[in-house]
Amino acid sequence: MKRNTFVAALLLFIVGCTPQQSDQLTQQQKDQIKKEVKAAADSMMAKFERFDADGSIEYYWDSPDFTKLNVDGSQNDFQTQKKSMNNVKWLTAVKVPTVSEKITVVTKDVAICVREAKLEMSLKSGDRLTCDPFAYTLVFKNIGGQWKVILSHESGIINTEKAGKK
């Protein structure tokens, strides 16, 4: 009887510890994470294109550790990013069509989404800003069941097309 109790306790130990080995994910788990991260990235960008700053900013990590590295080499913290997304009065349209994408699952709570894209912005002045190729990295972390961008890095060269010129 003593032996049985000990064996049962040992089983409890093994079973109890196993789920914490989070880095060893099955292909099914990885596919599920990729699907969730892709959905988050798609939704975030769709909201950005609709000038829904409040909806888009929901996907960013509200933390002093959040960082966004911009095309011009500048850096945004969460508050600067929020302000920048709300300051779109000078824009009439923005589009960021994806050309290709790769999602890497690092752990059960961290994934990297990188996209090759095009950036097209129409300004109220009539000018047009384009960036092609444009690439952006979104590092996602699962925080409280939601995938949040903890780090973003964008790159490309912005071209300005003045109104009335081709």
Binding site: F13, G73, T107, V114, E116, P133, F134, L151, H153
Partner: protein
């Protein structure tokens, strides 16, 4: 007696499981990881300036993904870039302006590196990228930190040979 064995086994369960809660790091552990990651960054930069591609590549995982010139590339393409570099570049100088490191778990961290890259080409042209920014994601593999992801950005300014 049975109760004692069960209590002992429960203790083993909790003690045995505790070390796996790796996300909860104290400041000392975070500082240690930051120092290790920054040492890798410094070492890779030193090798980059010596145009020692093989030396720099030892810090990269063969499964790495990178963004260079706004394109997604794999390790083989990245390696080729390093192999081809000494064919066209005579000297390379890197000046770090800022290096931030963020620890995610005991085995995962990332760095944001800001600096100025200056290359003197064999043609005599000079290429300056200021600022040049690298985001690198590090994963501990065994006892070594390996870069599993890198995004580099910057706008190169070319000064043609013989022009000022």
């Amino acid at each position: 007696m049975k109760r004692n064995i069960f209590v002992a086994a429960l203790l083993i369960f909790f003690v045995g499981c505790s070390p796996q809660q790796s996300d909860q790091l104290n400041q000392q552990q975070k500082d240690q990881i930051t120092n290790e990651v920054k040492a890798v960054v410094d070492s890779a930069l030193a090798r980059m300036q010596r145009l020692d591609g093989d030396g720099a590549l030892q810090y990269y995982s063969p499964e790495m993904v990178a963004v260079g010139d706004s394109s997604i590339i794999d390790f083989q393409a990245y390696k080729k870039g390093w192999t081809d570099l000494p064919k066209s570049v005579a000297t390379m100088k890197w000046t770090t302006t800022q290096c931030q490191c963020m620890v995610l778990t005991k085995d995962l961290a990332y760095s944001s590196l800001f600096g100025k890259a200056e290359m003197l080409m064999k043609s005599g042209d000079k290429i300056t990228v200021d600022p040049q920014i690298y985001t690198s994601i590090f994963k501990r593999v065994g006892n070594q930190w390996k870069i599993i992801y890198e995004h580099g950005s910057g706008v190169p300014v070319i000064q043609k040979a013989g022009k000022k």
